[in-house]
């Protein structure tokens, strides 16, 4: 019995040797401390480690809150000033464009009137040719009882032209549906 017990002790002792400094060989019988062992362990360098700071380090840096607000508001004010200056300049440019429109209006109106009259004249001459044989047709008859000038409709002007031209006149500038 003793021989078996000592053999078991030696076996367990060999198995247990890498666990810790004070290794506790624990087996069926009880506990046993290992003192003064020659085990290779990972220890700090001689003289200890170099010092390092472990305390909190939250330095005060950067601008204060007031100055950040100030910088933001300053940038905004500068932006507004630039915006207002440019808007005044745009207003001047817009006035110049309106003046140009007023200056060109007689020319454009005259051109438009000439074109209207020319188209009316062409329509009249074609009407003479077309309605020659229709009984009871008075060429160039006005539908109104007055002889005031009535601005002709687009349909009247573009009556004998392809329908595409009338659509272009009415809807050519329209972008929306």
């Amino acid at each position: 019995m003793w021989g078996r017990w000592s053999a078991a002790t030696v076996f367990l002792y060999q198995r247990r040797r890498v666990s810790s400094g004070t290794s506790l060989a624990c087996f069926g019988g009880g506990w046993r401390k290992m003192a003064g062992s020659k085990v290779k362990q990972d220890m700090p360098p001689p003289g200890g480690y170099a010092p390092f700071d472990y305390k909190r380090n939250l330095p005060k840096r950067g601008l204060s809150g007031y100055s950040m607000f100030g910088i933001g508001i300053g940038i905004m004010v500068f932006g507004y000033w630039r915006l207002f200056k440019w808007n005044r300049e745009r207003r001047r440019l817009q006035i110049e464009e309106l003046e140009a429109r007023i200056a060109l209006m007689p020319l454009l109106q005259a051109e438009h009137d000439r074109r209207t009259l020319r188209m009316l004249r062409e329509n009249l001459e074609e009407e003479v040719v077309i309605m020659k044989d229709v009984p009871g047709w008075k060429v160039g008859e006005s539908v109104f009882h007055t002889d005031r000038w009535v601005t002709p409709l687009s349909e009247e002007l573009f009556n004998l032209r392809p329908r595409e031209e009338l659509l272009h006149k009415r809807f050519g500038f329209l972008w929306y549906v």
């Binding site: 062409e122 040719v129 077309i130 309605m131 032209r161 392809p162």
Partner: protein
Amino acid sequence: MPFVDLQSRLGINLDRWLLLQSGEQPNKRAARCHAFEKEWIECSHGIGQTRAKKECQLEFEDFYECMHRQKTHERLHAIRQQRDKLIKEGKYTPPSHHTGKAEQTP
């Protein structure tokens, strides 16, 4: 109300501003039938409806025609029908400025 004329009495203008085309328009842009309406109103004002229907019929017809252009459209339609008939029979060829091929000069 016809005899009370509440708006004049109170000095307000709730809807009189939109009753007439010939009234004051925004941006001073005249209506298309401004002249016809003005003529009709000047003719028929103050003489009562029965007389106005008899005496101002021409002005009223002109105003109606300006608004709806029914006679104009009928006339144009007749001309177009006749032209298409003649083209089908081969007696008429539209001139170049009516076929969209001539160059557009103002």
